[in-house]
Amino acid sequence: MAEPFSTVWAVETQDVTKVFGNHLALRGVNLKVAGGESVVLYGPNGAGKTTLLRVLSTIMKPTSGNILIDGLNLKDHAEALQRRMGIVSHHTFLYNSLTAFENLDFYSRMYDVPDARERIREVVDMVGMTARLHDRVGILSRGMQQRLSIARALLHKPSLMLLDEPETGLDQQAISMLWEALKSEGQGKRTVIFTTHTLERGLELGERLLILDRGKIVHESATKDMDLACLKETYRRATGVGV
């Protein structure tokens, strides 16, 4: 992990815990992500990957601990920091009864996107959905909806992308398109934190990998230091689950 020039991390979590009833979903997660870095989260089902992303994205509040985005506490600057985040979840956050355009228009109002029409055209073009812009979301395939969900997340040009298995339902061409659109746009490189169950994909796209197990980060390393066989062995040792 490269130390940023200033001591401000794009994302920093300090002893973050999350409790559901008597189940501890996150157990003191400490994470530091530099600006422009791409981090992949691995882990078996129930490891806490989705919960961590939900806590980072403000969908959930942590039970304890602090989250800093660009050095600002998420608790105190939620609205300002939400403008810097783009979120792609298991669900698309899209309204089935509205058209693709109407959905994006609605979210552009929520994010105060300037020149919204122009921006909608740009993001829809990025994800290859221009021809379906005026179709109702409910009639689109799962893959198309996922593309649109990515367009929604990119609308306000976020500097931080939080992606929970973003490739769900996408074909190979759409996957390539997705990563092109996500990793950079304009001048700056985005900070990306994503989860995936495909080890190869994580190795290819992440610069650093984290393995979570039972709510804790149990392994952390640079992806360039790993090949697939090594990762499989590390994953098995860290989680006790073979892949």
Binding site: T58, M60, A78, H90, H91, F93, Y95, L98, M110, Y111
Partner: protein
């Protein structure tokens, strides 16, 4: 300004969605008309009886239609986890409350605007007086302002259709009772001054419900 722009964007989105699906207005309107029709048959053509029971029938119709309408209000937000999509937007929870409440108010007022003339026709009563229109509007504001809070509360429960009326109706009873009393006076041709205390009571409940719901909504939609 941003608060209102975002709240109105939510209302606009709900209105657009309703224009497409006609899920709320069409089904609730049919229900409301059926209730009016059923009561009309139940009480026969006796004009004296009609006058006596009309305010009650009117508010039974609006109350249960309103519950049906409120039940649907957050359904679209649950599909595809859109409520979470709203929560990650840089928009205050209070703006979400206002946007959703304005949408529901709009739908209920449309339903009432259609149901009232039908009610007048079936019951042969002068219900389209400015007094009754004002009472209906004010009571609906109170009804929706607290109803939207309970709709958000119940939407993630398994038996939401049951949970909403069970939680909501005992709370909204003061508004409904005040509305029935004021409507009774309005239907008997009472003057504005005679109605003023009834209207003030409804206004007071509106204010209490609006303020309380506005400030508690953010707690209700957290996890």
């Amino acid at each position: 300004m941003s608060f209102w722009r975002k709240a109105l964007a939510i209302t606009r989105k709900d209105a657009l969605s309703e224009l497409r699906t006609k899920e709320i207005i069409s089904s609730v309107l049919v229900f409301a008309l059926l209730v009016i029709l059923t009561f009309n048959f139940a009480f026969g053509a006796n004009q004296e009886t009609m006058k006596l029971v009309a305010p009650g029938i009117l508010w039974v119709t609006f109350t249960f239609s309103g519950v049906l309408s409120l039940n649907r209000s957050f359904i679209s937000e649950v599909e595809q986890d859109c409520l979470e999509g709203l929560k990650v937007c840089p928009v205050g929870r209070e703006a979400i409350y206002v946007g959703k409440a304005l949408g529901s108010l709009l739908f209920m007022l449309i339903i009432e605007a259609i149901a009232l003339p039908v009610f007048a026709l079936f019951f042969n009563l002068q219900v389209l007086s400015p007094q009754l229109v004002l009472i209906t509007f004010l009571a609906t504001v109170g009804f929706v302002s607290v109803g939207i809070l309970f709709s958000a509360l119940s939407v993630n429960t398994r038996a939401r259709e049951m949970v909403l009326p069970i939680l909501f109706l005992p709370i909204v009873v003061p508004v409904v009772i005040s509305a029935v009393k004021a409507s009774e006076l309005a239907l008997s041709g009472a003057t504005w001054s005679a109605l003023s205390s009834g209207i003030l009571i409804i206004l007071a409940f509106d204010a209490i419900f609006l303020v309380a719901s506005f400030f508690t909504f953010s707690f209700v939609i957290e996890e």
